[in-house]
Symmetry: C2
Subunit: 549 residues, 2 copies
């Protein structure tokens, strides 16, 4: 590391003095890797700084201010499909919080755990497991190495009753851009007993400010955990035909609204399921893309999947689950097909007897289990790397043992509009998506997650091969059109990819309010410029740079 005299170089020297030279990364290959996500970005990362505790974060931000050098914090950097580690503006130093990976508090009886940004899903799972805890965490399908704080601050979701991550946390410790630290909720009072158990605190509730924003660096968070139920049973169903979706959604809504179904129901289309089970059928299609028509029908048949494929789970005592099962059966009768239930015992038996079962019945139970099993664990809050394989969908080589979509040139863009939990809306939305995406030459892999009784989160995965010339541009063009068309129809994304922040909205009082708060909190604009902000100068400049204008 050179010591020089430009403000940036002075900042580097300052950071090195705080975090140690070994934690200031300037080696080109490492920076290049950090600049690489699952879609194109031209934003350069001049350095990576890795503080080990909150005090170091504070000092790092003070130096960023002193030398006017913007920083972009990442926790685990696995913001797959939305930008990985890539900053939304050019020239940001990465503030990598991965070393801050302590679990600092835990209560079995009040069911919470307090974590730092580097704590991953896998780490929390192991922590609970080692203690023989009777608490379950919620997990996203992103990756076991995904940060809890990172995902929560993006307002990600999982599959258990605690699936709405941001609704199940409290007590944020936040380092403000100026280097001051605040705690949200009651945590700001020394020894407040309710700090980890009550979210609102007293006075304005600030937690929301620090999600999807560039207002502060969250260095600690309390996550609420779910008591392990006496009994767990997953359910699966299909709609053989695409138009079955509407009735199915409308049938499930009352059960989700009245609490019979306590967790998200997840409904994936054929494309989504196929891409989770195998790579692109290059052989069957003769190398033609996109996949549709007869080949798709054949794959559906072969893999025993429907146009829409539902899953979800029931949690409670044996009797609570039995009653929920009865209500679910009744609701889906005549709406969805092949409703099946699966519990630990049945899964064990099925795994044991899959081969003999196939001999007898001719039904490939193993293949069915391959479809059902990864989702099964997720519904119990068990992190899995399985969904990562789908990012290799359009690759011609098989996924490696150690998957890394960023490194391996896997193209992935996630578009995530929210719709009312209403069958007609779901049908309109998914039809809009299918038409657009196929027209651009990609597969419309869609999942609909009933994140509440009232709302559906639709995730559209645009998966492509970055190693094919022009695909980055074609995929981004498709993505941009998709976001725009959906917004025109009233379906706005709950989360934005780096490069898509323009979807934050038009100038006006709302954006002025966000800017006003930003200026009050971060007068020099050093924290994550361009993140969830549509029209700052930084974003415009960086967008101009990115598009090569």
């Amino acid at each position: 590391m050179k010591i020089g005299y430009s403000p940036y170089e002075q900042a580097l020297t300052g950071w090195a003095a705080i975090v140690g030279e070994e934690n200031v990364v300037t080696e080109a290959p490492l920076l290049c890797a950090a600049q690489t996500g699952t879609f194109a970005s031209s934003h350069r990362i001049p350095a990576i700084v890795r503080p080990c505790d909150r005090q170091e974060v504070q000092e790092c931000l003070r130096i960023a201010n002193r030398f006017d050098t913007p920083v972009y914090p990442i926790s685990s950097g696995r913001n797959w499909g939305y930008g990985s580690r890539m900053p939304p503006a050019d020239g940001c130093v990465l503030l990598d919080l991965g070393r801050m990976n302590r679990i600092v508090d835990f209560s079995e009886s009040l069911a919470y755990v307090t974590v730092e940004p580097g704590v991953t899903q896998a780490q929390l799972f192991a922590f609970l497991d080692e203690r023989g805890s009777k608490l379950w965490m919620d997990a996203t399908g992103a990756s076991p190495q995904c940060s809890l704080i990172g995902n929560t601050m993006e307002r990600g979701f999982g599959h258990t009753p605690y699936g709405d991550h941001f609704a199940h946390v409290c007590g944020l410790e936040v380092v403000l851009p100026t280097g001051e630290t605040v705690e949200t909720g009651f945590g700001r009072f020394p020894s407040a007993k309710a700090a980890p158990v009550y979210n609102w605190g007293v006075g304005p509730a600030l937690d929301g400010l620090f999600s999807q924003s560039n207002y502060g660096v969250v260095t600690r968070m309390t996550v609420w955990l779910m008591p392990r139920p006496e009994y767990f049973q997953a359910y699966y169903f299909r709609c053989e035909e695409a138009h079955g979706l509407q009735g199915t959604i409308d049938a499930l809504r009352p059960l989700r609204l009245d609490g019979t179904i306590r967790s998200a129901s997840h409904i994936a289309n054929d494309y989504k399921v196929v891409s989770a089970l195998r790579q692109y059928p290059w052989l069957e299609t003769g190398g033609r893309t996109p996949l549709h028509g007869a080949v798709m029908a054949q794959l559906r048949n072969e893999l025993k999947i429907g146009a829409w494929n539902g899953s979800g789970a029931l949690y409670g005592t044996k009797r609570q689950v039995a009653e929920a099962r009865r209500l679910l059966r009744k609701a889906l009768h005549g709406k969805a097909q092949r409703l099946q239930f699966l519990d630990d015992r049945k899964l064990r038996l099925a795994s044991l007897f899959a081969t003999p079962y196939r001999w007898i019945s001719g039904w490939d139970l193993q293949r069915t289990l391959a479809v059902l099993k990864p989702v099964y664990g997720l519904m119990k809050g068990i992190p899995t790397g399985h969904p990562l394989a789908s990012t290799y969908w359009r690759k011609t080589a098989a996924p490696p043992a150690s998957m890394d979509p960023d490194r391996d040139g896997c193209g992935l863009l996630w578009c995530s509009p929210i719709a009312p939990n209403d069958g007609a809306a779901a049908e309109q939305l998914t039809e809009l998506v299918c038409a657009r995406v196929l027209a651009h030459g990609f597969e419309p892999a869609i999942s609909l997650t009933m994140i509440s009784g009232r709302a559906l989160a639709c995730i559209i995965s645009l998966t492509y091969d970055r190693d094919i010339a022009g695909e980055d541009e074609r995929a981004m063009a498709c993505y941009r059109q998709l976001v725009r068309v959906l917004a025109d129809h009233g379906y706005h994304s709950y989360r934005l990819a780096v490069g898509m922040m323009s979807a934050m909205g038009e100038p006006g009082p709302y954006m002025d309010l966000l800017d006003g708060i930003k200026n009050a909190i971060d007068p020099r604009g050093i924290l994550a410029p361009g993140r969830y902000v549509a029209d700052t100068r930084e974003t415009r400049a960086s967008a101009a740079a990115a598009s090569g204008r």
Copy 2:
């Protein structure tokens, strides 16, 4: 109304031009009434302005800015026990939003309603009833005339599964102090379909900012409603001895955490129940206060109540409720006494046969029903004026037919610390309260509400007679000591009374952050100065004025 030349008079003229002269109130008796709450305040209200729609609110705030005249918005002004209509600073013009009482949107299938600030609990109840809706609202016990928005912005709570009001709303329309309007969540996008059903929107989530703050005037809000369950059954139990509380809380916690109990359990001490059922036993005590010892024991016996008295409800299908009942019975066995269940059928029968039943059994069922019935309705979201009667506890005359605690000199201060949902904490907290309050000569009427699996909201009612000289001062001294002592032990209030804003906290980065946001949003400080702000100049000045210094 005189037209003069002081900025204040110019503001008055401006407001009259907007809302009409008839909606600018300056008559002394009306102002005097508005300045009067259930405890002492010396803050003067120079005028009341009553806009009829959002545009008028915008214009009113622009005028307030132009002429540097602070305003304090109220919805229904029934912030009983925390300040009624009284502003937290001297000289604020009341911005009375009561005329804005439209229900502007409603969906039976997605279970929500969109309301203006003047919409009361009674109004929403009637609205749903008239339509034969199968949706239930949540209600607080405050009063049928209480505003939904007013209560929600104070983060009040009720008794159904939707009891945490602020957690069950979205889509705020907010007029900022400068007169600009913003909508939170997806509402800021024209025709966003998920605006009334998804709370976070995209980008920083701002809803929390507008609760317990002086950052904006909420002029519209979407309230989520609960599907009426197939079956409803209330439960009641007692702890005969005070020390039974600890085990009862610890027995209920797992059921609340795992979703078997979906709504708040409410546990009230003897004082709380007695004051809900009758006035102070002046005769039996020979006029001595506070009530305790033998007379209290006799009242407990006579009214058939325990040291602690629990209530709650089960919601679901018949079978779901049956299973919850089984689990509740098992959990409370040996912990609490006299667990009883009550449903509509049993209540109807009991009401019919109360008198003959008394002849036969000698048990005064009518009296038991008097205890159980008002809470029963609340657990179904039926607003009730019944709890208001308890504000007349220390009065010697009976409550009038039309109760108005502000007008009638009823003294009431609510202190509302949050504790972890843990038996030992509940016991420590309530012991601290009882000792302090009795020592000051008042009765420690306490309720504990299990607002979530992890947190207890403790409400302490200091009820007194404002017509007795010196009582205002004595009650306030008791209240201040209580808040301080509880905070010293780690129990902080979720909500603050006007005059108690110092409990917001000491100067430091957190308060600086709140101030910074305030200055960005309301540079002239015209909106609700002193509200949930501990140390602004306005509050200090007004506190000085209030204490007569």
